[in-house]
Amino acid sequence: MSGIEDTTEAWTKVWMDAQKQYLDTWMKLSGGSRDWPGAPAPFGWGGASPWGDPLQQWSSLMTQALPRDSQGISTRLFDLGKSYLSLGETFWHLMQQGKGFTGSATDWQETLKNSLAAAGGLGLTGQDHVDPWSGMATFWGLPLNNWQRFACSFSPFPGEMEKALRPESVTQPSEMTRAVRQMLSLPPVGYTREWQEQAQEWTQLYLDYARTLQEYAQLLGKVGQRTTELFSGKLGGQLKKGRSLEGLRDAYNLWIDCGEEAYAEAVATPDFSHLQAQMVNALMRLKRHEQEMVHEVMTALNMPTRQEMDTSHKRVYELQRRLNALQDTVENLASSMELAEESRATRETPHASPVKRKTPARKKAAAQKPGQPKPRVKSKTRKG
């Protein structure tokens, strides 16, 4: 099968026409106008993804109009939408090319597998599948994409900085990385040498983190390859049995099943746990060093620091613990004194009736509403 590119123009035209019709109808229904500031043109978009770009702009406009509780979900929904439609686009190309296919189901399975591999897996159309970062907006990029979002929100440095180091390969560092490492080997000199040392150490820690992140990405890249294999196999298996998919959602669900299966295989290995822990640990070492640098700067500026806050919090906490312990002691003493007082009162007035202590009322079965279903869950009881 040749040339996924051959059908790109056809796909774009068909999709654009459909989108145009749909958007026109939607605009009329919602009473909106296409002429709002910064609005995307509803057709004639360029770029690799005719669906994704306008959807993104559209979603950013719509999201602002939503209630606060719904804004996060609309973002996640649109992220999914881009992946889903990207899958649809890739699948459409493959099926268009398969229209004239005259071989057997086995041949088709092999062709499909090769086509998917050439495309780098579903959703990776036209990208370099050797680069583990190329699928970050797609299905098998999800775990790493989630981590990136977390790590970026956790660092004062922009995500773009990490991207600059992505060309680094574990076995073949990039020119940039080699240059940085050479620079790091220069001895710090002069009045600011201590600060230079700090900066060099920070850079070293950053490169270490970038390396672990790269290793993690490569491991997830294997999940992508395995997903493609599983998908081709399962789809081929269905074809051999004379079954087809009911629609795009079926294809998507099958892809998700294969993704989870491939991912489960990967996470069950010691390598995965090791690499993931190394990645988190590396980020923490970097963050720790950043904190120390910031602490020095803040101290020089005579500003309060996190370290000082922690010291204060710890002192308050320890005081609170001591206070609680004292309170418990006082309460215990008070109880002892009360008991002693009762005992003394009983001894001094032998004919007086003893102090009544409240006892719990006899337990009764709690009221139950009529007609409530009896539990059907499976249970096992051990009674000694």
Partner: protein, 354 residues
């Protein structure tokens, strides 16, 4: 050769998906903010950020021994009372229980040094004391959920005189059983470095761990399914409630998190021994009160084997296990769990109250 899917069908489905999302956004715009926790309750005790709630009984004569629910520090306890028709608490009330619930609150920097000792021997103990005093009792019933179940086991071992009956729900006990992915991930984590660096454990990082267990389903497919229900305001609200809960992740007090990861996930001390909280040894053999252990057979967060292990280690002679056919979340909110789990718990408690 038959194609697995026709190109025209793909285009039709893609357009249909587009239509669902765009129309769904209009519904999303109109649903408003999402409310949770509908059952009437009253705050009866506060300490630092903790709030103890008492739910208004729904039967004339509720059980004499109240039931205190101890939820996990992870996520928020309103999962037990998510909405009117998905509420373990409401069901327990309707089955005659007198229910209290601990809300641990949202720890901030000032809570960083709280330890497990504070959560178990101080906060939880004070709640137990408060409830017992209010009912003029020496003992109450405990229902511990997930990590709250582990806390409840520790509490019962340390204060056996205070617990009449113990119910544990989807509770991790043996942290080193096979297929415990979270435990595998935690083994090589440098938790000292982590806590020394971040102080309190960010809720986002925990969430990332949970979502990473099934990333394709939890961050992808779930939203494809959402597209199918977006034109139904009731179903959409239900989805949004659950979504709100999933992403409502409090930070974890740093020292308590450090101890929990080390003692439980890394060293598995609850079953191998050597666990000390507040300077006192915690042994499951000290748990002699009747125990009901409810676990979910499809639990991806707390593998069933991790919960089932309780039977081997607990000291009680009255042990019952219930296997619920569902997952970690489904056991709180699924229609089946609403019909089966709270009645089973109430029935088990009432049998032991006679």
């Amino acid at each position: 050769m038959q194609l697995p899917l026709q190109p025209d069908q793909i285009l039709k489905d893609a357009l249909d998906f587009n239509r669902k999302i765009t129309h769904g956004l209009l519904t999303l715009r109109d649903v408003g903010d999402i409310s949770v926790g509908t059952t009437p309750k009253e705050a009866v005790y506060r300490e630092d950020k903790l709030v103890l709630y008492h739910y208004r009984p729904t039967v004339d004569k509720p059980a004499k021994t109240p039931l205190l629910i101890v939820y996990a520090l992870v996520n928020r306890p309103y999962m037990t009372d998510l909405q009117e028709d998905r509420s373990i608490i409401r069901n327990l009330l309707d089955h005659g229980e007198d229910v209290y619930l601990i809300d641990w609150g949202y720890p901030d920097g000032a809570d960083r040094f709280l330890e497990l000792d504070d959560y178990i021997n101080r906060y939880l103990h004070h709640c137990v004391q408060h409830v017992c005093k209010a009912h003029d009792l020496r003992r109450l019933n405990l229902l511990g959920i997930c990590q709250g179940g582990t806390f409840s086991l520790c509490y019962t071992a340390l204060h056996p005189e205070r617990v009449a009956n113990l119910v544990t729900m989807v509770t991790p006990v043996d942290f080193h059983t096979p297929n415990n992915v979270l435990s595998d991930w935690a083994r090589e984590l440098d938790v000292d470095l982590l806590v020394d660096t971040v102080g309190n454990m960010p809720g986002e990082l925990l969430n990332w761990s949970f979502l990473s267990l099934k990333p394709f389903r939890l961050t992808g497919q779930k939203y494809a399914d959402l597209a199918d229900i977006m034109d139904d305001p009731v179903k959409l609200r239900n989805f949004l409630r659950m979504e709100k809960w999933i992403f409502d992740s409090p930070d974890q007090a740093g020292e308590a998190f450090r101890q929990f990861i080390k003692y439980f996930y890394q060293q598995n001390r609850l079953v191998t021994g050597g666990l000390e909280i507040g300077g006192r040894e915690v042994s499951l053999r000290q748990v002699t009160a009747p125990v009901l252990n409810v676990y979910a057979t499809e639990d991806h967060l707390v593998p069933p084997q991790s919960s089932i292990a309780l039977e081997k280690h607990v000291g009680t002679k009255d042990y019952t296990a219930i296997a619920f056919p569902g997952g970690h979340i489904g056991i709180y909110v699924s229609g089946r769990s609403q019909k089966e789990v709270p009645p089973a718990i109430a029935s088990w408690l009432q049998e032991r109250s006679r």
